[in-house]
Amino acid sequence: MAGLATTFGSGAMTNSINEIENAEVILVSGSNTTEAHPQVARRMLDAVDRGARLIVIDPRRTRLAECAHLHLALRPGTDIPLLNAMMRVLLDEGLADDLFIEMRTENFLALRDMLNRLDLEATAALTGVPLALISQAAQLYGRARKAVICYCLGVTQHVCGTENVQTIANLAMLAGHIEKEDTGVDPLRGQNNVQGACDMGALPNMLPSYQAVANQDYRDKFERAWGVSLPEAPGKTLVEMTHGGAQGSIRGMYIMGENPMLSDPTLKKVEETLRGLDFLVVSDIFLTETARLAQVVFPAACFAEKSGSFTNSERRVQMVRQAVTPPGECRADSEIIMELSGRLGYGMEYNSSAEVMEEIAMLSPIYGGMHHDRLDQSWGLQWPCWDRSHPGTPFLHKYYFTRGRGHFMPAGHTAPGELPDPEYPLLLMTGRIYHHYHTGTMTRKSERLTRECDHAVLQINPADAKAHGLRQGESVRLSSRRGEITLAAEITDQVATGMVYTTFHFHEAPINLLTNDAFDTGSGCPEYKVCAVRVKKMVNS
């Protein structure tokens, strides 16, 4: 998000999901789309059926990579050199969109100079992808009339995640593939309302609608509306909060519907931090790993038991409608927050979620025309939606970028925080699978989803498996400098030699005990895609 905000001005998909099926070239980077975003993958494959060309950049041979015309299996953590090489090819082949660059962007010379100094052969060698293949991909992308780039956490979950995103934005601007329908840069958001939570200002440095905390004018506006003086300094990010240590500066936490005890990196540190707090309150629908550590647990209503709205990955704000009453004494989180707020001396009273949305619309320009009555009578509205008569915005940056001119942000290679070495010779990547969602709090309660998949597996290349004497399904002990877990081996050439892959859905094999807590200083995103591990066959397990 920080990456696109600095280059384009808005950290969100520039297109609608349905536009993807009209693109001529689709470049997918760091997204296991068929498993994590099935509907988006459906559009991609429909586009391929209609003749579109698909380029997949991924270290693993995912299902989507198998369907691709070009699969660039880069070494993890070499996204920037790969994209820089592609851009250099565009320059050399005269495929840069000079008019677009002149009219709509700034800082191009910095990028051009950096690209011209690049040793193309050496850069390609760094990525492990043959230069001919990089060149082919660049020309395919550069020559298309309508091309989209879709990317996901494979791009952002690196120490240089922000630069990775900025480099993607550079590529799109260099080719002039932005501002048009069916053409753009599309970060796929993982969770159902991650876009909305960002839009609502559930961020340490942003008030709702990306109005910076550090900006006095924005603070004044919210101080007038809310009738209090607001803290000036931006707050701590999630990882700063959950990794503060037992005697850290955070003494109390309120966690609503999140499970950092499975989802955050280096879990030992998270546990130490949460156990060391003076007070922890958790609101959730199940007794999660995090809730078990709390002093107070609130039983929350789930999505079927309350009303409100979610904002999907394409910025579409849509209604969530109550179908049944909550079980037992469960209450909606909004009620819980209002009760607590009153007790802490700041009264908040809203009769409905629609009333909350009225206040959001008043204070958040991009949600200015979002009212429940409008959302209720449509398939939702895509922000920015400035006022009641605005129809919403299917694609962004038409005529001008949100920030004015698109800003080129040239970047060079940054090595991952930890790479394999003789002691921990394998590179671990983590991700998601089709049948489960995030920490499995909900999906693992489903009998049928559990029947399809009920345990974590470690994907390992046949050559590595052979070297360790492993057979399909055998238990392996996987360890890093931070911890170890046991899980079953899945021998597959989806991963190259020297790499292993698993998911973070399973509390029996909490992979984040192992992951590194190196993170991207631009966005606070942990490096889940690269850390060093070793495997050991378990005897008689």
Binding site: A197, M200, Y254, N312, I336
Partner: protein, 133 residues
């Protein structure tokens, strides 16, 4: 039986789906035919979305820690105790000693209220969620 049109909670695609409701329970789901994203199609998670709603492990009462165990409590007890604890941390160490995690699974309105609560009642900008995980 009746159907309620709502939005799926399982990923950023945001499919439109109908929840089948019978005897005040959600008993199944079905994609919306005309919804721009789902277009009469759901993934396996969406088709089984009702199973977690009715699960017997759902939390149904507030819990307060007594020694090693979390024991059932009334809402008044849980809310009063929480407010008193958060209030005393805020008053002793300032709002910067409190951290708040909002949720990418909760609604916009709930996230708005939680960050407003953090910034007003708790006087802290320490509010974030797992956007990057």
């Amino acid at each position: 039986m009746h159907d309620v049109l709502t939005t799926c909670v399982y990923c950023g695609c945001g499919c439109g789906l109908y929840l089948h409701v019978e005897d005040a329970k959600v008993c199944g789901s079905q994609p919306s035919r005309h919804h721009p994203v789902s277009r009469d199609n759901l993934c396996v998670k969406g088709w089984h979305i009702h199973e977690s709603v009715n699960h017997p492990d759902r939390l149904t009462t507030p819990l307060i820690r007594k020694g090693d165990a979390l024991v059932p409590a009334t809402w008044e007890e849980a809310l009063d105790f929480t407010a008193q604890q958060l209030g005393s941390i805020r008053d002793q160490h300032g709002g910067k000693a409190i951290g708040v995690l909002a949720s990418a699974k909760c609604t916009n309105e709930e996230n708005y209220l939680l960050q407003k609560f953090a910034r007003t009642a708790l006087n802290t900008n320490n509010v974030d969620h797992c956007a990057r995980l």
